[in-house]
């Protein structure tokens, strides 16, 4: 039977299908989030089933996660993304003791015990300065595609200091930096540093290794290097990091 996981995030919907008998994630897919969140999630789920020659009868259970999970009226149960990311990382990076997840509108630090279960967690869901939204803002302001930010930042020799804790004010700072002639690559590098510093602050003074990086922001080039610099320790990007929560949900759906 298939366990299905649906991660209804703030920026994207992710779906994963896990085949319990073959112990395999058979399919994943992602779609930009929109206004009709339930319809989008359901449509993506059904399309993924159809594309893989499956139907709802093959699915034993559907688990919803992510911020939009509570409105997914077609799922069997909901589990927070904390638990789902932990479960997903346990599969793709067994042995990881810390997860850093940076999504579109929040970031999380999840501490795991040696068995891979959640021991404790910290979340930043109040301030966009530690989230993907910050990157989106700077990409839009600089008119640079999101996927090119890392490449651009690599050319920086002097990351611009971004002092504001608030993205709205930070945008004002960026406008000021541009007006004063700062190079776009220095601004991007400065923004990356600001994000990872916010995330590093959540870790407090101790962090167990290995550290696994998940969430959509982990796919942005340059972020993992910035995170390693901020934490002063190696960080590995989880396999298909945007899908970790959905994969974890699909495993939990299959009681794995």
């Amino acid at each position: 039977m298939i366990g299905a996981g649906i991660d209804a995030g703030s920026r994207a919907i992710k779906v994963a299908l896990y085949d319990d008998e073959r112990d395999t994630v058979v399919a994943t897919d992602v779609l930009d989030q929109g206004v009709e969140q339930v319809a989008l999630a359901k449509g993506l789920f059904e399309k993924l089933l159809e594309d893989n020659g499956l139907d709802r009868g093959n699915v034993s259970r559907v688990v919803g996660t992510g911020y939009g999970r509570s409105i997914l009226d077609f799922v069997d149960s909901t589990i927070t993304e904390i638990t789902c990311h932990a479960r997903g990382v346990r599969r793709v990076s067994p042995g990881a003791r810390t997860i850093i997840e940076i999504g579109g509108q929040d970031s999380k630090l999840i501490r795991l015990n040696p068995e891979g279960a959640v021991r404790d967690f910290a979340m930043n869901d109040r301030c966009a300065a530690g989230t993907g939204r910050f990157l989106e803002m700077v990409a839009a302001r600089l008119d640079v595609p999101l996927e090119k930010l890392g490449e651009l930042a690599r050319g920086s020799h002097s990351p611009a200091p971004i002092s504001s804790m608030c993205v709205v004010f930070a945008e004002t700072e960026i406008i000021g930096l541009l007006a004063s002639g700062s190079a776009p690559e220095d601004i991007v590098a400065g923004v990356q540093t600001a994000i990872v510093k916010r995330v590093a602050a959540m870790a407090g003074r101790t962090m167990d290794e290995p550290v696994s990086f998940t969430g959509g922001v982990a796919m942005v080039p340059g972020m993992v290097e910035a995170l390693q610099d901020a934490l002063g320790r190696p960080v590995s990007v989880a396999t298909d990091p945007q899908m970790t929560g959905a994969v974890g949900a699909s495993l939990l759906a299959a009681n794995r």
Binding site: T83, V118, M123, D125, R126, G204
Partner: protein
């Protein structure tokens, strides 16, 4: 009339109230259906869930009629004492004199929640330069200026020094607006130096004798001011009687907490317990009635425990809660997420400890004042939290931050690290503004994640046959 304990809506309470009255339920003078408070502006009430016992009804009505009691006291010629920030000391002294009624203007911090910002108190504070970077207790400024919520007290006292910095700033602004305040100071409580004379405080901490003597002298100034407005001396004998009565309130609350937080299933919901605990510091402006209200609540809880009945489903995750919430609805939210309260530290745990009755009363009050968790290091507070977690077997901790409150900026990490290191139970921090509706999804998400983590830990411990309850 037999009722199964449960949480009900305001509308359901109205129907139940009518049934109870028809069945002959005796009502206090301030009794009546809860919904009658809504036209007065208490707009939050329809959005809360309530315990369905007559004892809870009485508790709520007692709370929601404090303004009427204060107005009546003024009419009767009693002197009103507005006591600020000491959390449980000055009211014990004031109520030792029959002509004084004490209350906490700080209590106005809940008005923006209960009235869903409709009273405009925070806007008044804004206009005075005390904006949202301060604790919601700034609503107190609006309450003073509008005079719509309590009579202007005949005497205002405020505890400063080692207590909350932003409260001190708010009170200083009030003073500057022409409301004279008797300031009394608490030093930052410290451990005695080697060889330094020391005394044990209620709650178990030890402080230098010199610090207690300092607080004693400060409280003597307060006693003289109280005597001045009362028109008569407040003797040690009167204070001793006041301490004895306050201790009755505290011992009733102690038993209530031990029963409610230890029993399975949970016999009394979090919201009613929060309000009950608050009575320890302010008596809701009527000390004797406060005791009667708590006695009835205790009797209800005792009967439920004896019958094995709960207001919540069994198996809820046992949560220790730190700091009171600015939005009462969040206490309901915890229970809707599958949690229950098992232990609290609402900033005034010292006011739940008995005041020593074998000491001269002013000495006893000084020791109690210095035991205030706000006057000592946060590490002391974390110690006490760990101890109480052991007492109540809590499985998770919520540190509820109060926006703008200066102590909240630093204490969360200390408490989280201490609890995590000593007990290994999960901790989450949430920030609760006076009306948290817009933040409800994120608060709920954190609570859900915390409860999931605690449940998983419970299952693991159960599988390995380790005790689920945490001990220090």
């Amino acid at each position: 009339m037999n009722r199964t304990p449960e949480q009900i809506s305001l509308h359901e309470w109205d129907r139940l109230h009518d049934d109870l009255v028809a069945a002959g339920l005796p009502q206090p003078s301030y009794g009546g259906p809860l919904s009658r408070h809504v036209p007065d502006g208490d707009l939050r009430l329809p959005r809360l869930r309530y315990d369905n016992s007559p004892a809870a009804l009485r508790l709520w009505n007692f709370l929601l009629t404090e303004e009427d009691r204060l107005a009546a006291a003024r009419t009767e010629g009693k002197q009103l004492v507005g006591t600020m920030k000491d959390l449980g000391t000055v009211p014990v002294m004031a109520y030792s004199s029959p002509s004084l009624v004490a209350f906490y203007p700080d209590g106005a911090w809940w008005i923006p929640c209960v009235m869903e910002l409709s009273a405009g108190l925070l806007e008044v504070a804004d206009s005075l330069g005390i904006d949202e970077s301060f604790c919601p207790v700034r609503a107190m400024l609006g309450a003073f200026l509008t005079e719509a919520h309590f009579p202007i007290p005949d005497l205002l006292t405020c505890n400063v020094g080692a207590t909350c910095d932003d409260f001190s700033a708010i009170a200083q602004r009030l003073n500057g607006l022409g409301y004279p305040i008797l300031w009394w100071e608490s030093p930052h409580r410290r451990a005695p130096d080697p060889g330094e004379a020391s005394v044990e405080l209620p709650g178990g901490f030890v402080a230098p004798e010199a610090q207690v003597a300092f607080v004693h002298d400060e409280l003597e100034r307060v006693r003289r001011a109280l005597a001045h407005i009362a028109g008569r001396t407040i003797t040690d004998a009167m204070l001793a009687e006041g301490i004895t009565t306050a201790n009755k309130v505290r011992s009733t609350l102690d038993e209530l907490r031990r029963l409610a937080y230890a029993a399975e299933p949970c016999p009394m919901p979090a919201l009613e317990m929060l309000i009950a605990e608050m009575l320890a510091i302010h008596f809701c402006s009527d000390r004797d009635e406060c005791l009667a209200v708590l006695d009835e609540l205790l009797a209800e809880v005792r009967s439920r425990v004896d019958a094995g009945l709960g207001a919540l489903a069994g198996g809820a995750v046992r949560v220790f809660w730190v700091n009171p919430v600015a939005d009462l609805r969040v206490m309901n939210m915890l229970e809707q997420a599958g949690g229950r309260i098992c232990g609290t530290e609402y900033l005034f745990c010292h006011a739940l400890d008995p005041i020593p009755e074998d000491l001269p009363p002013m000495e006893a009050l000084a020791r109690m004042a210095l035991a205030d968790p706000m006057t000592g290091p946060t590490a002391d507070r974390a110690d006490r939290i760990c101890r109480d977690i052991g007492l109540f077997g809590s499985e998770a901790v919520v540190v509820s931050q109060i926006p703008g409150a200066s102590h909240c900026a630093t204490e969360g990490a200390v408490i989280r690290d201490t609890v995590g290191a000593r007990l290994g139970i999960p901790v989450t921090e949430i920030e609760v503004p006076p009306v948290a509706d817009a933040m409800a999804p994120t608060i709920r998400n954190r609570l859900d994640a915390l409860l999931e983590t605690a449940r998983a830990r419970r299952e693991t411990l159960s599988a390995t046959h380790e005790p689920v309850r945490t001990t220090t």
